[in-house]
């Protein structure tokens, strides 16, 4: 395996060992809290739409709003400075601070600037007063999470750190001891400092009001105790008016750490006039200085970039990190760049620090899409990751260009990494593999074959490879033909044969055909080709678009004939429903999305509309453990499978992990194998728990089935196979 893959694999293994448990406990706690907290809102979706609309409008009108904000801040008696980049911002802030001591509240934008280091060169003492940031300052470490920066550290680790650095009089045995010690220590720093530095979560242009979303009270103290207030924020934080803050105030805590609201949401219209501290006395606060430093640092270019623009809607709540299975297991030290971490970090890092910073961790986004519904402003985070991956592909030279360019039929240029190109061309691979099976399987699975694959293209030899079937689903169907006469059919369906169902998991395709026929549906199986999911997941957008167009051309006559499109593989249905709007003409994409159904969703619809359920086998109380596919859950389709199985008399429990960790090609890649298995263990644990260990395992996605087969001692199948009279008994 290449040196780069080896380095990545080793770093991930280290983080899984050292930080994984702490990160997992915290992020899954935040994520569970999010589900619970948003459920308490009367109109969660409506608030999200409102928040999104405010951001869309604000970014659209940004230059004008910045000028309005400038007028407001100046009218209030403060100064506004727009800094082109980090150096420009630091130069301005150093001038204002002028060597005085600074106390800071938490601000990711200040991390982006590395302003502490800049100020320290002038002799300023700079103290982070947020406890998590304070821990990291003492430890000289980077944040592992954008909201809770020290979640990778345990209580014992923090106690050790404080004892080594401060040699405190009292023992620091509990979290309360540690908190008290830090508060007292930082209390003295706050008392002595002359400058208070904060970020700003939102800035209202019309009044010059800033919102600070906090819980500890340190930001309030930093502003109040000092006589100079410096606030640092990206230009994207500006919204038109104070009233626009409402949806964000209600959503940000819920989306992030799962709190309905954080302890303090400060709406400050600086300079504020609370009394400040001067030599132990309370001094009038009416001549407090206020400087708002708005940082551009690449944001104007992001605003002009059709694919990165949405990143600017981000309110840095951390929902995309907490809802991400990979992030939950490995944290922001792997899943992050120079400043930002989590799914949206790819957009921030690409825009602010450049493509290289994003390229380091961008592959950790598997496109599972669990962050999409969690994001309070509805950013299509997987798409941003895909686009950046595509740009990284185009910007690099790969070692085997001459080899793969000639052999692979894709539309993407030479720069694509050989491993990505292999997985991106899965459809071709599967077709050739099927045509030459079983020989292709013997070669691929031989020891020599696996070693070569691992060394040359980074396919981990510990992972079982899919076995290609000699007879594809399309061939099988063509030979047998439709079994329901047109005259007898209640409906007609084109069953989409995705590459896995067509060449590997052929049995689930046959089961789908027979189940639909049992319910009075006339089925056809058009050879529609690959959906484009495989190349898209590798960032090969041009190839994905070509395939999407070809699929649409194949399916269009079926749509014209009034047939519904039924899809077995959820990741391909998600292509039709979500990604095709980025790849096809709007009208075509909308038409296909409207007429496409997941197979169990379609069965549910047939049964609801009078199809004879008794035509399907009786579950007779069979105990089933069901894992829904990540993209299927994002589309809200998981309940249909549960409902159909329960209706047929199965006893169903459903997993609640966000993703199985396999994610298409991800779990095959040498550098990510260990992480993939670590993520999968969370699912395996649920299915080997006392109540589930004897249950029949079913899963909707190919990847999920592969992962479960690798991690469990018992086999797994697609739920439609339980309903197929031929296979189920």
């Amino acid at each position: 395996m290449s040196a780069d893959r080896q380095r990545k694999a080793a770093e991930i293994r280290r983080l899984l060992d050292d930080e994984g448990d702490s990160v997992y406990a915290n992020t899954t706690g935040f994520n569970d809290g999010r589900y619970e907290s948003v459920a308490g809102l009367d109109d969660y979706e409506g608030l999200k739409e409102e928040a999104r609309a405010v951001k869309e409008d604000a970014i659209q009108r940004l230059p004008e709003l910045v000028e309005t904000l400038r007028e407001s801040v100046e009218a209030n008696g403060g100064e506004l400075y727009v800094a082109d980049d980090a150096d420009d911002a630091n130069r301005y802030i150093r001038e204002v601070v002028d060597g005085r001591d600074v106390v800071k509240s938490k601000s990711m934008t200040s991390e982006e600037l590395e302003v502490n280091e800049a100020l320290e060169t002038d002799g300023s003492d700079v103290w982070e007063t947020d406890l998590g940031e304070f821990v990291l300052q003492v430890a000289d470490e980077a944040p592992s999470h954008i909201v809770a920066p020290a979640i990778h550290k345990s209580r014992a680790g923090i106690a050790e750190l404080f004892e080594a650095r401060f040699d405190p009089d009292a023992d620091l045995d509990t979290a309360a001891d540690l908190t008290r010690f830090a508060r007292d220590y930082l209390g003295e720093r706050i008392r002595e400092a002359e400058v208070g530095m904060t970020g700003a979560n939102f800035l209202a242009a019309d009044t010059g009001t800033m919102a600070l979303v906090t819980s500890e009270g340190n930001a309030r103290k930093c502003v109040q105790a000092t006589d100079t207030h410096v606030a640092v924020a990206g230009i994207e934080k500006v919204v038109p008016s104070v009233e626009d803050l409402r949806p964000f105030v209600e959503l940000i805590g819920r989306s992030g750490t799962g709190q309905d609201i954080t302890s303090y949401v400060s709406l400050l219209t600086p300079p504020v006039d609370s009394p400040s501290f001067a030599d132990g006395a309370l001094a009038p606060g009416d001549d407090r200085e206020f400087h708002l430093v708005l940082v551009d640092n690449g944001r104007t270019e992001m605003r002009e970039d059709d694919d990165l623009r949405e990143t600017l809607y981000c309110i840095r709540c951390s929902a995309c990190a907490n809802s991400c299975a990979n992030f939950q297991h490995v944290g922001g030290h792997a899943f992050g760049g120079e400043t930002y971490s989590g799914g949206i970090a790819t957009g921030w890092e690409a825009g602010v620090h450049g493509l290289d910073a994003a390229a380091e961790f961008n592959d950790l986004c598997t496109g599972c899409s669990r962050c999409v519904d969690a994001c309070p402003v509805g950013i299509d985070i997987p798409w941003i990751n895909t686009v950046v991956r595509d740009r990284v592909n185009r910007g690099e030279d790969a070692e085997f260009d001459w080899l793969v360019e000639g052999l692979t039929p894709d539309a993407d240029p030479g720069g694509v990494d050989v491993q990505k190109r292999l997985f991106g061309n899965f459809g071709t691979l599967a077709r050739l593999g099927s045509a030459t099976a079983p020989l292709s399987n013997w070669v691929a699975q031989s020891r020599v074959g696996r070693a070569a694959m691992e060394r040359l293209v980074g396919v981990d030899r510990r992972r079982e490879l899919p076995a290609f079937r000699r007879e594809s689903l399309v061939e099988w169907f063509d030979a047998r033909g439709p079994q329901v006469a047109r005259a007898d059919a209640d409906r007609e369906v084109a069953l989409y044969p995705d590459a896995y169902t067509n060449y590997v998991q052929v049995d689930r395709g046959k089961a789908a055909v027979r189940v639909l026929e049992a319910l009075g549906v006339r089925v056809s199986v058009p050879a529609a080709g690959e959906s484009g999911r495989a190349p898209l997941s590798q960032g090969m957008v041009a190839t994905a678009r070509e395939q999407a167009e070809a699929v649409y051309d194949s399916l269009e006559p079926h749509l014209d004939a009034g047939r519904d499109v039924v899809v077995v593989e959820p990741s391909d249905l998600a292509m039709f429903d979500r990604e095709y709007e980025r790849l096809l003409d709007d009208a075509d994409a909308a038409r296909l999305a409207a007429d496409s159904y997941e197979v169990m969703e379609y069965v549910y619809g047939l049964l609801e509309n009078g199809a004879d359920a008794d035509a399907l086998p009786d579950g007779d109380g069979e105990r089933v453990a069901y894992h829904s596919h990540c993209q299927q859950r994002t589309l809200g389709l998981e309940p249909y499978t549960e409902a159909v199985l329960e209706d047929r008399g199965f006893d169903v429990v459903t997993s609640d992990v966000e993703c199985c960790g396999m994610a298409g090609s991800f779990g095959y890649k040498t550098e990510y194998y260990d992480l993939s298995v670590d993520v999968g263990e969370s699912l395996a644990d649920q299915f080997t728990a006392l109540d589930a260990r004897d249950r029949t395992v079913v899963a909707s996605g190919t990847s999920c089935l592969e992962q479960l087969d690798d991690l469990l001692d018992r086999p797994s199948t697609h739920p439609v196979q339980l309903l197929d009279a031929v296979q189920s008994r």
Binding site: R191, G217, I261, S263, V265, V272
Partner: protein, 168 residues
């Protein structure tokens, strides 16, 4: 204000571990005496017929603030659905007095307790346009999970008590 706003406020506060004390302008001193621990600092209260009891003095130094067991301030609004109080700071010192004591006692008029955030934000916005430069929507005690477990009482108060003036 609808009649069930105060009970809703009380229920939200109770989930946060915050006591709600109902009193009237006439009985305010006695009600406050029950919850104030010494030493106590406070800022003048803007409600008609209500003033700080003798047991609560105005802070004159940073030490007064740091030594305080209790800080008493008015709150501009209560927000029933969240159990929040809106602290509108200014020269009289609402901000430091509400921050430094171990217990913060927020006094709010019943007529200023609003049902939801959708009611509160427009009121806060109007006050901002009238020149009130600070509004902190404060909900429960200060808290952190940064030290390996949830701890209440970080840089801000450990306990919060909300006193509702039912006749104001």
């Amino acid at each position: 204000m609808s009649t069930d706003t105060i009970p809703a406020f009380e229920s939200s506060l109770s989930e946060l571990g915050v006591d709600l004390v109902r009193t009237t302008a006439r009985e305010f001193d006695a009600a406050l005496d029950d919850v104030v621990e010494q030493p106590a600092v406070g800022v003048p209260l803007p409600f008609a017929g209500v003033s700080l009891p003798d047991a609560v003095s105005e802070a004159s130094s940073v030490d007064d603030l740091e030594d305080a067991a209790t800080g008493v301030t008015p709150a501009g609004y209560g927000i029933a659905s969240y159990g929040s109080v809106v602290l509108q700071g200014g020269p009289e010192g609402v901000e430091p007095v509400s921050l430094y004591g171990d217990t913060h006692i927020a006094v709010v008029a019943a007529s200023d307790v609003l049902p939801d955030m959708a009611d509160a934000i427009p009121r806060i916005a109007a006050d901002i346009r009238d020149g009130r430069g600070e509004a902190v929507v404060a909900t429960g005690a200060s808290a952190t999970a940064d030290m390996g477990a949830l701890v209440q009482g970080v840089h801000g108060p450990t306990n919060v008590v909300v006193v509702v003036l039912t006749d104001r």
